[in-house]
Symmetry: C2
Subunit: 299 residues, 2 copies
């Protein structure tokens, strides 16, 4: 129950953010975004998703993105790989890390990936094994950890079960997603405490959405518990697929401002990051959902 000394930020804007754009963003813009994020000091960037372009046309250029990366030393370029076929393509593309995506809500699992939670875990087993054989680390996402758009409340024990299973299957880190941004600080804290009873706290990450404006308060609450890995999206890219016009991922700039104020190191240059947020939102013509980005730009 103490603040971490430093936090690792996992930037999900190029994937979780741009995946929710109504029209695909061109590869060159994605590559420039990824490069600018690395230049701001971000060491962990989710760059692409190896899913079928039929399902997610926004990520159809995954091979081109991976091939076009201006790789910076010390930066991990990761990709989502929901199945073996995606994993094989990702490995061929030279990805540094992959991720699988489970849910803590049965209904969400059915609607999002067309199978039960148990079936999704079965499907991930060969993905994780093959990645491990190739010495590529696997991250596990768990969605709906603080609520589900279909089921409402989700029991923390359910989140802990899925998290433990993914961890035991070989995921090196479990990212706990508040997919619909409905959580509040004490719920986030209780959920984290429950999961940390099954998976070591230092193997957990907070992936909070800001749909109801609570993300930073929730992050502060789990930072009090010692969480040291945070997922976020520059300029809050992406929005929310479950509520039109609503906010999606918490903005990376706002997270770094919080960490700076708490005296927690991140190694990230806030001014450069905020500039990147303003650049990408102007380039793709979307609102800048980082309040820090807007305020710093107005100075």
């Amino acid at each position: 129950m103490a603040f971490p000394q430093s936090v690792r930020l996992v930037e999900v804007g190029p994937r979780d953010g741009l995946q929710n754009e109504p029209t695909p963003i061109d590869t060159a813009t994605k590559l420039e975004l990824i490069d600018r994020l690395g230049s701001a000091g971000i060491t962990h960037i989710e760059a692409a998703s190896f899913v079928s372009p039929k399902w997610v046309p926004q990520m159809a250029d995954h091979r081109e993105v991976m091939a076009g990366l201006k790789r910076r030393p010390g930066v991990t370029y990761a990709a989502l790989t929901p199945n073996l076929r995606g994993l094989e393509a990702a490995l061929e593309s030279g990805v540094d890390e992959v991720a699988v995506f489970g849910a803590a809500s049965e209904t969400f699992s059915q609607k999002n990936i067309n199978c039960s939670i148990a079936e999704s875990l079965e499907r991930f087993a060969p993905v994780i094994e093959t990645a491990q054989a190739a010495k590529v680390p696997v991250r596990g996402y768990v969605s709906c950890t603080l609520g589900c758009p279909y089921e409402g409340e989700i029991a923390p024990e359910k989140v802990a079960d899925v998290s433990r299973t993914l961890f035991e299957m070989g995921c090196y880190e479990i990212s706990l997603g508040d997919t619909v941004g409905v959580g509040t600080p004490l719920k986030a804290k209780r959920m984290l405490e429950c999961v940390a009873g099954q998976v070591p706290l230092e193997k957990l990450a907070a992936h909070f959405h800001d749909t109801y404006g609570q993300a930073l308060a929730n992050l502060y609450a789990v930072l009090e518990e010692g969480i040291a890995v945070i997922d976020s999206s520059v300029a809050g890219l992406g929005g929310c697929p479950y509520a039109k016009g609503a906010a999606g991922n918490v903005a990376s700039e706002d997270v770094i401002y919080l960490l700076n104020g708490l005296g927690i190191a991140s190694g990230i240059d806030l001014d450069k990051l905020a500039e990147t947020g303003r650049w990408i939102t102007e380039t793709i013509g979307r609102p800048n959902r980082s309040k820090v980005g807007v305020a710093l730009g107005a100075r």
Copy 2:
């Protein structure tokens, strides 16, 4: 160091919010806004400001607003009264409560009200005395408690000094303003602890702005300390006069969502409040800065 069981929300949208609108809002719209806020369960509404229309044309209709109120039992209708002349007009208008406005930053005091902090306190003395003689409670605001747009960091001791002086002069409550929204949770906590050494905690209110997106995290941090009065603005009305396009007061809807999640009573109907936020922003053609308001409206 325990969460309060209930929180009293002080709605400042009709004053602190609309005061920052580039063009004055018509009196009928203000009156409907105030009535809708009361109907949502808000018991404390800052309805007007008795300043010279030369300085604040947006509040020139203060007499008409006070006269036009459809008064609800149990609701306090308050007004800002920076000087004796304003106070006298406010008293004639039948105001329930008045407020004076001090600063914790010398430079801000000079630029905002053209006098030193000490001079401002001297000026407030007859205002407070006259109000007390009329049995009208006086609230004291302290601005720049977590930073100043001109001086940067502000020592918590300075905030505590000004707060204690206003309290000793007869203010029944001191509202601690993060006027430029630069604070972060631990700073907010330390400032509050310092002030609470001079003024009883139950006499303090948090008035936080969301310019850098930190307001809810800061509120959560001071709720952990037991603060039980929060100032906010429906739909985050108002914006920030120090950074064009940036956010101003924290949105009331987002505060109530937080309180509901923490199990802290407020007596406020969130759906009605969010509806009011959507109505006023559509009516005056401004962005709805409440994420809760936007998300609930998109369901």
